[in-house]
């Protein structure tokens, strides 16, 4: 008799051989210049349950460019493991041909050239076409949204998330979990969630005062699909009050809460769940660790760290699916659930090539309706870029270099700090920079650009603190962002050292002098988590800087020396 574990591995191996994860075909198609919607959507329907996963859309309603990271280092047990494999190593691992559509979708190399060839990605009208097509195959497929949906654009800011709520309601998800949504403020979150026509989930969303589960958010929701009882357990981002301003949602507490997760899984199983799906905003490495500690989860739909993986990662008997960000991908997960257990799976990470996938007309109209009142403001061209502008990666991206330049020059500072968030689309060389593009990389409810004096010692403390949130060898002590971006100062980082010893050789770039621990420096930054931060909004600072530049040209940034071995 074949054990379940054997079966999962066989199924996985079979997938790889027959290309069930969608690989092997695209590169040939590229050579033929014949990438079609049918080929992107092609899927041999499998088993009796289908899950559709979208996550970390960050309010990107329209197609965008999004360059995947060049540097995404893993530490501890995750060193050299996916998702900490990029570029050529990634293509080799998954058998992706250089220059192919999947190379463009999932790796960073030749981004400008491939971007011009294959065009923009995403757009929720295209996502709707994909979702509808999967529902045509399997009408009772579950659509699950991993959160970071009501944040990240001009219109989302102006409407306090209403544009995204309206458009997502049009997609008809079955459940959702949360992170940046809470930066709308708890009153607004409560108002939206009370009227949400689908389940708002988070086993780890607690009432801060009583340290009990918050009433508004259920731990899990039961569904019956394809004759299978399915429990979807929500896991919100565990470190919201730390990574984002606690004062904006003081009544809520989060945390990983493994034991409560186990209790929710056990309760759902006792209620008859034959399949347990965790809709997670933990981040990939945290999900991997959680899968070793919580028993009985069949599938983790992973969000937060914005990784796009073409095949599931297997931890014990749990499969983990990572579906990218910014509307660039949709994951389809077909499962064979029989006799109360998951017997096999077939998955596909579907890249949303916006020039290939036909927009859904109804959804396109709904999106345009949200944007219509702001059309003139969105489309105003502020400047042009000569360089590729992107953010993703553990250290500075060119968007961040531009933002740090803006902070230093507009705010008359020695050093600039920009948060290491992972959202924010890219622009190709030659592209105009519109107001919408600027907001896409900085829109938030606490965007005030502060200006402050800090000692060299304190700057070192900040860098060490953020570095430990990224490179602590235990994922449960990580927060999932990238390293704080620094302008005007260089440093050396040894990622494998303990906190307090990673950062050295801090140098003020304008003088070439070593940073003096006792001396004060003027530091400009934005996105402080402290209440009462004052200053102009970051988008106004950036806009003013770009207007003066006219055409953005950036110097190569070699100011961070990374030691990783």
């Amino acid at each position: 008799m074949i054990s379940r574990r054997d079966f999962l591995q066989v199924s996985m191996a079979a997938s790889a051989m027959v290309g069930a994860s969608g690989f092997g075909n695209w590169s040939r198609l590229a050579a033929q210049q014949a990438l079609t919607q049918d080929q992107l959507l092609d899927f041999d329907t499998f088993g009796n349950v289908t899950l559709i996963h979208v996550t970390d859309i960050h309010a990107q309603l329209k197609p965008i460019y999004f360059r995947e990271p060049e540097i995404n280092l893993g530490v501890g047990d995750n060193k050299g493991k996916v998702p900490h494999i990029t570029g050529a190593d990634f293509r080799k691992l998954y058998g992706v041909e250089d220059g192919s559509p999947s190379a463009y979708a999932m790796t960073y190399n030749d981004f400008t050239a491939l971007g011009k060839e294959y065009g923009k990605v995403g757009g929720l009208d295209r996502v709707a076409t994909v979702v509808n097509s999967i529902r045509a195959d399997r009408p009772d497929a579950l659509l699950l949204d991993g959160g970071d949906t009501w944040h990240g654009s001009y219109t989302c800011y102006q409407t306090e998330g209403q544009d995204m709520v309206n458009v997502m309601n049009g997609l008809k998800p079955d459940a959702m979990t949360f992170h940046w949504e809470f930066t709308l403020g708890q009153d607004r979150v409560n108002e939206i969630v009370e009227n949400l026509p689908f389940a708002a989930l988070g086993q780890n969303i607690f009432d801060a005062e009583w340290d009990e589960p918050a009433e508004l958010f259920k731990a899990y929701e039961m569904f019956e699909r394809g004759g299978v009882k399915i429990a979807v357990v929500g896991q919100a981002f565990p470190y919201m009050p730390i990574a984002n301003p606690r004062w904006m949602f003081p009544d809520y507490s989060f945390g990983i809460r493994d034991e409560n997760m186990q209790a929710a899984v056990d309760e759902a199983r006792a209620e008859g769940a034959e399949l347990v799906v965790c809709l997670s905003h933990n981040g990939f490495d945290v999900d991997k660790k959680m899968a070793t500690r919580v028993k009985g989860i069949d599938v983790i739909l992973s969000g937060h760290t914005h990784d796009a993986l073409p095949e599931p990662v297997l931890v014990g008997e749990t499969i983990i699916i990572a579906s990218g960000s910014n509307g660039k991908f949709v994951s389809r997960v077909d499962l064979d659930v029989r006799d109360g257990r998951m017997m096999g799976f077939r998955t596909k990470l579907i890249p949303i090539f916006s020039d290939v996938i036909e927009p859904d007309k109804e959804m396109a109209a709904l999106i345009d309706e949200q944007r219509a009142p702001y059309k003139a403001e969105l489309e105003e061209v502020i400047g042009t870029t000569d360089d590729l502008l992107y953010r993703r990666g553990n250290f500075n991206g060119t968007w961040d270099d531009l933002i740090c330049d803006a902070l230093i020059s507009e705010r008359d500072a020695d050093i600039a700090m920009s948060p290491g968030v992972r959202w924010g689309p890219s622009l190709l060389p030659g592209d105009p920079i519109t107001r919408e593009d600027i907001w896409n990389v900085c829109s938030m409810s606490y965007g005030e650009a502060y200006r402050s004096e800090m000692t060299g010692e304190f700057i070192h403390v900040i860098l060490e603190d953020v570095a430990d949130n990224l490179f602590n060898p235990d994922p449960y002590y990580q927060q999932g962002g990238d390293m704080v971006r620094i302008g005007g100062m260089g440093y050396r980082i040894d990622i494998n050292k303990p906190q307090g010893e990673r950062i050295s050789d801090m140098t003020l770039l304008k003088t070439g002098e070593k940073i003096d621990p006792a001396k004060n420096y003027v530091v400009a930054g934005w996105a402080s988590v402290n209440e009462g931060t004052e200053g102009p909004q970051i988008w106004d600072v950036i806009e003013s800087h770009i207007k003066k530049q006219g055409t953005v040209k950036l110097d190569p940034n070699n100011s961070v020396e990374v030691v990783q071995d």
Partner: protein, 139 residues
């Protein structure tokens, strides 16, 4: 944007207020407290559950809970605080369960330690690192 340096320095004052560094235990103080509690008896790992967050949402009020079946007393210490002594919970024979919850203040990243005096008179220990961080930058 026309701003003077003097004007804007004041604006940023609230931006970053908290200084945190990993704190290391004043080993002598902690060992002494454990010795006083156990009367010098050996302490084994386990036998007591300690629930604390991996990263504190607010270092000034960190929720923790301890439990140990049948224990008559549980000592809780914050090894890196200037005064590591947090609490000693005592449970009488009529106590429904030997468990307790409280909120503690942590001066920085450090280990929280719980030692329980178990029903058979032996001692068990649990320990967990709680990180206190400046925060920000979450993805």
């Amino acid at each position: 944007m026309d701003i003077s340096r003097r004007d804007t320095l004041a604006l940023g004052a609230g931006a970053v207020a908290l200084t945190v560094l990993p704190l290391h235990a004043s080993a002598a103080g902690v060992d002494e407290m454990i010795n006083t509690f156990t009367g010098g008896a050996a302490v084994a790992d386990g036998g007591v559950d300690l629930d604390a967050p991996e990263i504190a949402e607010n270092g000034n009020t960190v929720p923790i809970s301890v439990s140990a079946e049948g224990a008559s007393a549980i000592l809780v210490m914050a090894a890196g605080n200037p005064t590591p002594d947090v609490a000693e919970f005592k449970f009488g024979p009529l106590a429904g369960s030997s468990s307790a919850s409280t909120r503690i203040r942590l001066a920085g990243t450090q280990d929280v330690i719980a030692i329980a005096k178990l029903a058979d008179g032996s001692f068990g220990k649990a320990q967990k690192t709680v990180k206190v961080t400046i925060g920000g930058c979450g993805g």
